[in-house]
Symmetry: C2
Subunit: 204 residues, 2 copies
């Protein structure tokens, strides 16, 4: 039966629709303005392409991520940092409405760290750190902004990339989100071989 | 240190970059042409907005999802079905290169099902079924196509929507993906209250 989404109370609808896309990645975005560093949790990071290496994310211009978006557009650089299962509370705290000149790093108990070759701050506690340069941004029909970044560098612990290139982000403790406020760890069910039409899939 | 992604072997790079966005939702997309039903696994579904209710996904036009993309553009409708943890092997099988006139439903052991009010096929086995109408599509810098759909209806078991609108998709058994071929279940760490600047986050 077609739904009457318009009739739902706003908060109910936000919880409901935000649950429907399924399990989401928990990432915090590191940026800086001339005045302050900024850190914001985002559950909308997605793979755009491997060659060139591109990641996308969606941002609402008039919400708590407005500083992050402005910093990206001004500076052209940002970092994506996987949220570790043991600090999901600190990551969630970055979604509070801090003033623009306040650093979420200090307020939320996380540590900013810089590589030699990237101007935006990383989260030292993150085990998967990705440095990006803004590549494309465009406004979608509902006024959200799609930000696409070109990966400049990836900082991982040694021996965490498999021979075939797979990164076991579960072993690294990367957390997941469902809805607006629920945080999760993951457990592998299986890795499968490349699928072929005439045979059932084989476990790797 | 900046990476030399160009120097990576193609398959290695695909595995590596596809791992970096973090945990992804496992969904299968149901469509139909005049000749046949089609079903394709996608790990790029993401939330675009709650009002109006919009979901986005990325598709590469010249890959195994070309039939799905063409069907969406032709018919204007499609379904997003959460993959259940107990049938991730069947969902992965839909990624094989079946001929355009072959239905992945039958080939992969899944059942097509139609609601009274939506023209695209659902996966009967899926516990979260979402019917969408194409709302916007645009081509990104790397020639992938961003497809945004307006949610028309949501089919869930009774009593799976909380009072505040949250859908416990983990209790419903929705699976997650990392990289190209790794499937996962999830375990809740915590739900948190709306975050405030001056106080640590509280568990719900």
């Amino acid at each position: 039966m077609p739904e009457n989404f318009d009739a739902m109370p706003q908060r109910f609808r936000a919880n409901f629709i935000n649950s429907l896309s399924g399990v989401k990645a928990a990432n915090v975005i590191g940026t800086r303005s001339e005045a302050a560093e900024n850190l914001a949790i985002i559950s909308s990071v997605f793979h755009v392409g491997a060659n060139p290496p591109l990641l996308g994310m969606l941002m609402r211009p008039h919400t708590v991520v407005r500083d992050t978006l402005e910093n990206i557009l001004q500076s052209g650089v940002y970092t994506i940092n996987h949220v570790g299962s043991e600090w999901v509370d600190k990551a969630h705290h970055t979604s509070a409405r801090f003033d623009a000149d306040v650093s979420e790093f200090a307020q939320c108990g996380l540590t900013s760290w810089y590589s030699e070759s990237h101007a935006a701050p990383y989260v030292q506690e993150s085990r998967v750190k990705i440095g990006l340069r803004l590549s494309q941004h465009l406004t979608l029909e509902n006024k959200t902004v799609l930000v696409i970044g070109h990966i400049q560098e990836v900082i991982l612990a040694n021996n965490t990339v498999a021979e075939d290139g797979y990164v076991d982000i579960e072993a690294l403790g990367s957390a997941a989100i469902t809805g607006l406020d629920s945080y999760h760890s993951t457990t592998r069910l299986a890795r499968f071989e490349y699928a072929k039409p005439d045979t059932p899939v084989a476990v790797k």
